[in-house]
């Protein structure tokens, strides 16, 4: 089933044209600013027409996003952005539809639409701003907050085991799963580009700092002192390397048990290591859960950033269109009079 292609033209706008006239109302220092900037930076490169772009969001700090984009936009209700975006995309396949959502919006109240959207695979780009907290309602734990998290609603610590959002997405048969972060603009831009390029639902989880209610949750991945040991950047076809000078690697023992190794010390070649394959769903799952593994030999497991998984599957809107076309082929363009009349009529004279 061929999916509908977004028309590729040269863009008719620049980053500046994307800035709306509305004052931005995020807290100073909020990670959302960077994400907005990177999106505004990347969009003009994609060969889209500005009038064909629509941003759809739910409710949350992150979901204010559409107001700041001088494109078509819908700020909707809590948790339903993916469904609303799906309706828009299925009815107007030529539009480039972006969903902006938070960890509460998409994984808490919106969890059902989230998983169903992923399996149905309309060609949407989902930007999930994960700050592991409810920002807008002033700091309650979210479904991604770690166990024991102390918040306003969990003064003795959260008793809930959190979701691993990417593992959940893979379990829901997502076709594109990636992760980036607000504080790494270049990587974020690259990931936005990859998301846009994917035909089908692309899920980009973005670690986002909420400096008011959950400050520093992801600093380990960007702070000088820790970042090389804690963040691993994925590249398709390349071995999993990280640490100072990429001296650490990950290898798979028995084909499926990850192990952190010192590449130089053990004199390993690249091919001894786990080579990242974006098409391998099993390995994508393993990557999503990488930091959940017990540290071994060479220390803790890092968190991965990049494209975990990217495969092709027909898009929902394409399949819907195809049936309409087939129906027209089979039955001809709808004839209202014939429909209403039906097969059994009688006349009164």
């Amino acid at each position: 089933m061929s999916s509908t292609q977004i028309p590729e033209n040269t863009s008719n706008f620049t980053s500046k044209d994307l800035v709306s006239d509305q004052d931005i109302r995020w807290c100073p220092g909020c990670g959302d600013y960077s994400i907005l900037k990177q999106v505004q930076k990347v969009l003009p490169e994609l060969g889209l027409k500005k009038e064909n772009i629509v941003f759809v969001s739910g409710i949350g700090c992150s979901s204010r996003f559409p107001y700041y984009m001088n494109t078509y936009g819908m700020h909707t209700i809590h948790g339903r952005a993916t469904s609303i975006a799906t309706g828009l995309k299925v009815s107007r396949p030529e539009l480039s539809v972006w969903v902006v959502t938070g960890d509460g919006d998409s994984l808490s109240i919106g969890g059902n639409h989230f998983i169903h959207t992923l399996r149905k695979n309309p060609n949407l780009n989902i930007l999930l701003f994960n700050n592991e907290i409810y920002g807008l309602t002033k700091g309650q734990f979210s479904p991604t907050s770690p166990e024991g998290k102390v918040t306003k609603s969990s003064p003795m610590g959260s008793v809930e085991h959190p979701f691993n959002p990417l593992a959940l997405a893979l379990g829901a048969d997502a076709t594109f799963v990636a992760r980036s972060m607000d504080r790494d603009p270049k990587h974020l831009q690259a990931m936005i580009r990859r998301s846009a390029g994917h035909e089908g639902t692309s899920l980009l989880e973005i670690y986002q700092n909420c400096n008011v209610f959950n400050d520093g949750a992801f600093f380990a991945y960007t702070d000088r002192a820790t970042k090389t040991d804690r963040a691993l950047f994925l590249e398709h076809g390349r071995p999993l390397l990280f640490g100072e000078g990429n001296k650490k690697g990950i290898r798979l023992v028995d084909g499926c048990h990850p192990q952190v190794v010192d590449v130089e010390k053990e004199g390993l070649s690249e091919s001894d290591l786990w080579i990242h394959d974006e098409k391998d769903s099993l390995k994508a799952g393993l990557l999503a859960r990488l930091p959940e593994n017990q540290g071994n030999g060479e220390g803790e497991f890092p968190s991965a950033f990049g494209v975990f998984y990217a495969v092709e599957r027909y898009c929902l809107e394409g399949a819907v269109r195809l049936q309409i076309e087939k129906a027209r082929e089979r039955m001809g363009e709808g004839d209202l009079d014939a429909l209403i009349r039906g097969d059994h009529v009688w006349e009164i004279k």
Partner: protein, 617 residues
């Protein structure tokens, strides 16, 4: 054919009843089609159990189909039936109370064996078709199963398959009794079983056997003729409410020149609209079976933003889940049609039974001040016009609109003098066009004199704008926390809905005097019953007026005055009193509620009795 005496009748009510697996609904609809083609006016009412197939032979598993047809106007499916066809003991037990005294019973003898009697919970040794308990009725006992097997013994089919044709035997028998042509059913069976011609043939054979059986046996002394009804000239078809709703939506899409986007989550009794629409994709109709009701309405809102005629449907429990999103549509001011095919509640209630108890939910069931228009259908065929009108209002006034139907309309059928495409009113959609800007800025909440804003579709250069659920500044649509602006916007949204009263017809009387002792005000599916009751009363010398509301919000401008022309106003509803409250509130008139909450329509006699009671006072 010449030997028997034919009795002429103006009206007949037949009720088919049997096990859910007996093909009762099919038998009923086939008889309906033939009857419609014979030119009778008619109304039907299927009455099936909530279970898919409760244990065979039990009361819970009985499925019924009632058909009222006549040579005169027919307004209801009939209070009581003249003929009761029962395929087994449970069907008799469950339905005898629907039969008129002296009525005809046609009973399948083989459905009264020991097992069936036990399942129907008759006491040991009691068989109602053998004792004298049915003395007051004309009972015809026919060994339908046996005869069907007999006539199919050379068909090569197994016993189970043969037995599947026994409903056709009965149908043939009734075709003979009411002098109906078997041809439409033969055509139907041939096409239905095109891939299994042996089954089709068996069915046809069984039907013909039933026909002949009636011709040659004692049933002969019960042959009736119901002349064609003196209906308005024109071409007719038979139509069911949900089908008419589906057609109305497609028609509105055509007349507005918009694709229909229908998103729903299955629920009784709304699902058939989805089933019907999904067969007409060649109209460009998109049907979406969403993961739940919230997703369904949400995706419709997305499609509406994109420029579709967006529709969502459910019954009460599902509608309640949609209310948050409907509230969003009211503040967005985008077109959205919400079809509520009401069923008996609260909660899961009686899911296959009808009720009119979602009116208050439609009018008031949203957080905050979120007014929206409400339109109700009055008969199966009227679902077409009413939902078309709901679409028109939604599109022309940029607003969500409730369309109310119910389980009785949804599954009921009647003859329909269908319109041609050219007769249908054009729906004028107010799109914003490229260049519709002020000083280069697009103002999404700028309004015309009716207070209606324009529809600016993504894809239009220069109209880029954002909409949201936060209160919006007048004209610009920007987020605004200004107190004065909020009040202004709440009032504007209310006024816009109120203004629709200028664009709908004034309330007319359906019948009766313009002033007088009593006005009966109804809405929705009570139409036929009230009409029939008042007609009978008129024949009995009592002239009572009838107004039936299509528009529940806003009310027609003249409704208040109209009501005040009568000493008393009676409001019959299949709920615990809802419209009556709106009338009392708005017009401070002591309208009198009359309520039935039994999952069933009013009987004509009930309305008549109530009117008598009021007039006697």
């Amino acid at each position: 054919m010449s030997k028997e005496k034919i009795q002429f009748k103006t009206n007949v009510v037949i009720r088919f009843a049997g096990d859910s697996g007996d093909g009762i609904q099919l038998t009923g609809t086939q008889f309906t089609t033939s009857t419609a083609l014979a030119g009778n006016d008619l109304a039907t009412y299927p009455d099936y159990p909530a279970e898919i197939r409760a244990p065979a032979g039990t009361i819970a598993g009985v499925s019924g189909f009632q058909l009222h047809f006549g040579s005169d106007e027919v307004h209801t499916s009939g209070d009581y039936c003249d003929v009761l066809v029962v395929m087994n003991a449970a069907a008799l037990k469950a339905n005898l109370n629907h039969l008129k005294k002296g009525g005809i019973i046609i009973a399948n003898e083989d459905g009264f064996d020991e097992k069936n009697l036990r399942l129907a919970k008759y006491p040991d040794g009691v068989n109602p078709i053998q004792d004298d308990s049915l003395e007051e009725y004309q009972v015809h006992i026919v060994p339908v199963t046996k005869l069907t097997r007999e006539c199919l013994k050379d068909s090569g089919l197994g016993v189970r398959d043969m037995d599947r044709s026994k409903n056709m035997f009965v149908l043939g028998l009734l075709y003979y009794m009411y002098n109906r042509s078997m041809d439409p059913t033969i055509t139907f069976l041939e096409s239905k079983f095109a891939k299994k011609p042996e089954v089709g043939e068996a069915n046809i054979k069984a039907m013909k056997a039933g026909y002949s059986f009636a011709d040659t046996t004692e049933i002969q002394n019960g042959r009736f003729e119901v002349k064609a009804a003196p209906m308005e000239k024109g071409t007719y078809r038979s139509i069911m409410g949900n089908q008419a709703t589906a057609f109305g939506l497609i028609a509105a899409g055509c007349r507005a020149n918009l694709p229909v986007y229908y998103a729903t989550y299955p629920i009784t009794p709304a699902s058939d609209i989805l089933h019907e629409l999904s067969r007409h994709k060649n109209f460009g109709v998109v049907t979406v079976q969403a993961e739940d009701e919230i997703s369904a309405v949400a995706s419709a809102i997305g499609a509406s933003f994109g420029g579709s005629l967006a529709v969502t449907a459910s019954a009460g429990p599902g509608i309640s889940l949609k209310t948050e999103a409907i509230s969003l549509a009211t503040i967005y001011e985008i077109p959205l049609v919400v079809c509520d095919i009401q069923r008996a509640g609260p909660s899961t209630g009686l899911p296959t039974k009808m009720e009119q108890a979602d009116l208050m939910q439609a009018i008031y069931g949203r957080p905050g001040e979120a007014p929206l228009p409400v339109v109700a259908a009055t008969s199966p065929a009227d679902c077409f016009d009413a939902v078309f009108e709901a679409c028109r209002i939604a599109l022309e006034f940029m607003t969500p609109v409730f369309f109310l139907s119910d389980g009785y309309l949804a599954n009921g059928a009647e003859p329909w003098r269908f319109p041609s495409m050219a007769d249908l009113r054009e729906i004028k959609v107010g799109f914003a066009n490229e260049g519709d800007t002020d000083d280069g800025v697009y103002l999404p909440y700028k309004r015309d004199e009716r207070l209606v804003r324009k529809w600016a579709l993504p894809g239009t250069p220069g109209l880029e704008h954002r909409i949201g659920g936060l209160e919006k500044e007048d004209v610009t649509g920007n987020v605004s926390y200004d107190p004065e602006n909020h009040e202004k916007m709440v009032k504007i949204r209310q006024q816009k809905v109120n203004n629709i009263a200028d664009h709908i017809p004034l309330q007319e009387l359906d019948s009766g005097p313009e002033k007088g002792e009593l006005l009966v005000v109804g809405w929705g599916s009570t139409y036929g019953t009230i009409k029939a009751a008042l007609k009978q009363l008129r024949a009995e010398g009592v002239d009572v007026a009838h107004a039936h509301l299509r528009y529940l919000n806003p009310f027609p401008r003249n409704l208040g005055e109209l009501i005040k022309n009568y000493d008393q106003v009676l409001v019959p509803e299949i709920n615990n009193g809802q419209l009556v409250r709106l009338i009392r509130d708005q017009f401070l008139y002591p309208a009198i509620p009359y309520n039935k909450i039994k999952g069933q329509p009013f009987a004509v006699a009930e309305i008549k009795n109530k009117v008598w009671e009021l007039l006697k006072k």
